[in-house]
């Protein structure tokens, strides 16, 4: 207000919803031009409110991104724990039990009926182990956290439904959350190729360029992938965006499908 008293200046308060949001300092002569002052005040008020809303929105977005990252991270930790429990618990016990049974079998060399039943029990155990292994592997790909992306992708490429060219250009390990996200981008893309693409070949590339990691899976199939409805792709977008990355999918009809994830990596 002190400013107003110098050099013949005046002050007009700008209010929104009854609360002062700014002060307009102007030549005292303009006091006569109420309409002009009102118009300037209204415009300034709108601009200020816009700026405030935008800042608020940015803060919310940041918060949202943070909570999405935390949700993805929490799910990851939980799955890792479950896999670990299965691995160290049930799986180990079943292997040990199966071994115990076969040692027992050797003691029964003359009792053929008992031997047969033991052998049957061992086969059942072997099946349970196999099922358990598939479940545990589905819950969390332990190989990624333990041995890294390059090692894990060998298996995915070998089991793919079409011939794959695999290119991994990384030196050393990446942050675990990033490796897991990249792994899922590849495995989900390969699953889609198996289900829908009718492709004859595909390529996987994982390349680090400065502070970004690019993960790209390209096939030569029929294209036309439904990027809206697939829950798998939705889940991938969540994973990638939770890490501040971007997932893009090109899938023109008849033109193959290209899935590209770009992940920032400091």
């Amino acid at each position: 207000m002190e400013l107003a008293n110098q050099d013949g200046r005046a002050v007009t308060r700008i209010e929104r919803d009854g609360a002062p949001v700014a002060a307009l300092i102007h030549d005292r002569a303009l006091n006569e031009e109420r309409e002009l002052l009102d118009a300037v005040g209204a415009a300034a008020g709108i601009a200020l409110q816009n700026a405030r809303l935008q800042a608020e929105l940015r803060a919310r977005l940041e918060e949202l991104r943070g909570s999405r990252a935390r949700i993805v991270e929490a799910a990851h930790t939980e799955r890792q724990r479950l896999e670990r429990d299965l691995h160290d618990g049930a799986q180990q016990r079943l292997v040990a039990t199966s071994l115990e049974l076969s040692l027992l079998e050797d003691l029964l060399d003359q009792h053929s009926a008992a031997r047969r039943r033991l052998a049957q029990a061992r086969r059942e155990l072997a099946k349970s182990l196999e099922e358990l292994r598939e479940i545990a592997r589905g819950i969390h790909p332990a190989v990624v956290s333990a041995h890294g992306l390059a090692v894990a992708l060998e298996q995915l490429a070998a089991l793919a439904p079409v011939p794959i060219s695999l290119r991994v250009e990384l030196t050393g390990r990446l942050p675990e959350s990033l490796e897991v996200a990249a792994y899922y981008v590849v495995s989900e893309s390969l699953a889609n190729i198996a289900k829908h693409a009718r492709a004859t070949t595909a390529s996987i590339a994982v390349v680090r360029i400065n502070d970004r990691v690019l993960v790209e899976v390209v096939d030569d199939g029929v294209g036309g992938a439904d990027t809206e409805r697939g829950s798998g792709l939705r889940g991938l977008t969540d994973r990638v965006e939770a890490l501040n990355g971007r997932l893009c999918i090109w899938s023109p009809f008849g033109g193959g499908t290209r899935v590209k994830a770009e992940l920032p990596c400091a």
Binding site: L99, S102, R137, Q155
Partner: protein, 214 residues
Amino acid sequence: VRVAIAEDSVLLREGLARLLNEAGFDVVARCEDADDLLRKVRSLLPDVAIVDIRLPPTHRDEGLRAALEIRARYPSVGVLVLSQYMELGLALKLLSGSAEGVGYLLKDRISDVREFVAAVRRVAEGGSALDPIIVSTLLSRQRPDDPIAQLTPREREVLELMASGSSNQGIADSLVITVRAVEKYVSSIFSKLGLPSTGSQSRRVLAVLLYLRS
């Protein structure tokens, strides 16, 4: 044959030791973690170390790192890695450069005592033992012009056994055919795949695996 075991589950460690003792092996070390294993290997130089791929403290890659270190520093010690999961990438890492005195098997294989004991002996003697799952993963891999498709079913069976590390005698026993017949199949397989069939058995295994990988 002198064996060191590194396995953090007591149940399995003791089970393994008992199984090997009964089969006439001399279990010279029972270790809970990788550091202990490396110490024992250095001081005792066993013929073979059986290593769980997931070992304390973090249960991540300690087992694999120990296995690779033993392979690099003590070439006379065979290394047989056991794992709940089979990963082609890990098999390739373990084999990198040589298939001599190395094995990678699914943990459940230990309950097929006869086969398992044979695998331990083979690795201790400088041969190899690769899990059938790894071999079938490699064989089923899709290829643009698949030369595997040119093999007869019998040749494919022989290839699978060969890639798992079986000797010609072993293959002959499994398929109930003569060693000479096996030799014929082997040379036919190598010529169909365009590979040289000479060299030691472990070279032969490695050649087949690297071929299947590409």
